[in-house]
């Protein structure tokens, strides 16, 4: 347990704005880290929320935030030099396979946990990224690994869903007799991840998804983040097919702050009020 337990306060070393609603905040602090792990980000006087580590080096790290509600809007409005508190990293991270026969499928801000993963994987993997439109495509210049883009409005790449591209890839491989995908990693809206999971199941391909739930402690005690039998902050946030198959609440319910389980659409609409 090398994670930070009482918040360590760090100053924003650099801020990069991505398109209309994303920003990355960089911090000069070395963290032990596995792609997929998250930190609890504290803005004193406001609140504390979980964010994935989206960039990681020996000397620093960054988080990437999509401005949605009160907290995230305040977070993207932080300036260089502002103090932010961190606990973590928490959670299990992705189980990393070294093979070119892998797909990474990102939806919107779901790119954040996947970016350090892509950098850790073989350069020949299949890398799919979907977004609302061209402006919302995170890290356009970041990767050596080529990326297939799709947008809801067709403003860049394929017009349509990431699942289309993933299915096409799987079928193409089947037809060509090239090795099938050994793993699909995905993060994005839960409905998207669920569809990816179904596609993978139908083709017998294992997948790993990164879930999001309301969190308090971040270390598996308070129960705020439970999803069925799983404790998202501790057992997850990354879960593999084996777990997903038994998680009744996956793509169905999530607990509100009060502990009340609600349908996912209600959970997300309520949160972003």
């Amino acid at each position: 347990m090398n994670a930070i337990q009482t918040p360590v306060m760090l100053r924003v070393a650099q801020k990069k704005i991505h398109g209309p609603s994303f920003a990355s905040l960089y911090f000069d602090h070395s963290l032990e880290f596995k792609p997929g792990q998250f930190v609890m980000v504290w803005i004193p006087g406001l609140d504390e929320k979980p964010y994935t580590i989206s960039h990681h080096s020996k000397t620093g790290f960054a988080i990437t935030i999509e401005a949605k509600g009160i907290f995230s809007k305040k977070a993207v409005a932080l300036e260089e030099g502002d103090l932010v508190g961190f606990r973590g990293p928490f959670g299990n991270g992705f189980n990393i396979l070294s093979s070119p026969d892998i797909a990474v499928v990102a939806g919107g801000c779901g790119m954040a946990p996947l970016a350090p993963l892509v950098e850790a994987l073989d350069k020949r993997i299949v890398f799919i990224h979907g977004a609302r439109s061209k402006d919302f495509i995170l890290y356009p210049e970041r990767f050596d690994t080529p990326r297939q883009i799709c947008t809801d409005d067709g403003s860049q790449g394929h017009k349509g869903f990431v699942t289309d591209l993933l299915e096409r890839e799987i079928i193409t491989r089947k037809k060509a007799g090239t090795p099938p995908l050994k793993m699909v990693y995905t993060c994005g809206p839960e409905i998207m991840m669920y569809k990816i999971f179904l596609v993978c199941e139908s083709f017998d391909i294992p997948c790993q998804v990164s879930l999001e739930r309301y969190m308090r402690c971040g270390f598996g005690v308070c129960g705020a983040c439970v999803c069925g039998r799983q404790v998202v902050c501790k057992d997850g946030p990354v879960f593999d097919s084996k777990h997903l198959r038994t998680m009744e609440d996956f793509n169905k319910t999530a607990l509100l702050k009060s502990g009340k389980p609600v349908q996912l659409d209600q959970y997300f609409s309520w949160r972003c009020q």
């Binding site: 337990q5 009482t6 103090l83 971040g218 129960g223 702050k257 009060s258």
Partner: protein
């Protein structure tokens, strides 16, 4: 290690503390499967409540501080959960709270109709009728709330959960016993405490103050159980800072019938229940003794023998 507690059979003496993981049936079931004899639900309140803003729970290394703020869907808004729990295959302790005697009663009556195996009343909440004073620090308040709840829950055993902030916890326990409580659970979090981040100059918890739990409060919990054991005849759930089988032995020697674990989940995972059971059994085995034989042993042999009559 099967044992009987207030007329129910438990597979072992370990109890999951309220507020730790007890948010839905599936996770309660998992905790039970992982070696916990009795699982407690997160405290259920009279009305929906979000609890406090984060940070709410911070690990301090030798324990933690929390001010979660009693989030609850509200007793009347948990229909699906109650339905799911009907088909449970494990004993269940339903923890409840209120801001007034009437609220405790309302929640207790409703919850009793859902047939939990036990009802635990968390009397560490501010008593709205007495200007925010905590129910559990006054004998009269404790007596009032326990008797009121007892009236409306039929034959479901009642457990009163006490706070170490009481100036004399043994007196509160006696008041609860006199009011009809079937058991005592001790202790809730200690303190309260505060941790300040010196860079931002702000208390770290959004609520500023919070309750202390985990290993650092074990001496306080052991002392409370010891004091309560001398004051009452009803059984005690000893809770506070237990993380090992030896800690459980200590709690039992202080006088506990059952041993609760909350923060320990942080330090040894959900498997802590399995591990503590193993360690506890190994210790009993190596010492060729039983739970019954060591219960209250720290009071001396005569003290234990005379306990019943001494009241």
């Amino acid at each position: 290690m099967t044992l009987h507690f207030l007329g129910k059979t438990l597979k072992n003496p370990l109890v999951l503390a309220s507020g730790v993981l007890g948010n839905n049936k599936q996770i309660l079931e998992r905790v039970h499967e992982n070696g916990c004899g009795l699982v407690t639900m997160k405290s259920i309140g009279p009305a929906p409540r979000d609890g406090h803003k984060n940070p709410t729970v911070i690990d301090l290394g030798c324990g933690m501080i929390n001010a979660v703020g009693l989030p609850t869907p509200g007793y009347a808004h948990m229909e699906e959960e109650w339905q799911a729990l009907e088909t449970r295959t494990f004993p269940l302790n339903a923890s409840i709270y209120g801001g007034s005697v009437a609220e405790y009663q309302t929640v207790a009556k409703f919850v009793a109709a859902k047939h939990p195996d036990f009802i635990e009343i968390n009397i560490s909440c501010p008593n709205s009728e007495q200007h925010g004073m905590i129910f559990g620090v006054s004998e009269q308040s404790a007596f009032d709330v326990v008797s009121a709840v007892k009236q409306v829950i039929g034959d479901i055993p009642l457990i009163a959960k006490l706070t170490p902030q009481a100036p004399d916890i043994a007196k509160i326990a006696k008041a609860c016993e006199a009011a009809g409580s079937d058991a005592i659970c001790a202790i809730n979090t200690a303190g309260p405490g505060m941790v300040i981040d010196i860079e931002s100059k702000m208390p770290i918890l959004a609520f500023k103050k919070g309750g202390l739990s985990g290993p650092m409060i074990r001496p306080i919990a052991v002392r409370c159980v010891y004091d309560i054991f001398q004051a009452v005849s009803i059984p005690i759930i000893g809770l506070g800072g237990v993380t090992t089988g030896k800690d459980a032995v200590e709690m039992i020697m202080a006088g506990a019938h059952l041993v609760g674990i909350g923060s320990g989940v942080r330090y040894r995972g959900i498997e802590i229940f399995k591990k503590v059971n193993q360690e506890l059994n190994a210790w009993l085995c190596a010492h060729d003794t039983t739970l019954e034989q060591i219960r209250g042993a720290a009071h001396g042999r005569d003290a234990v023998k005379n306990k019943g009559q001494a009241q």
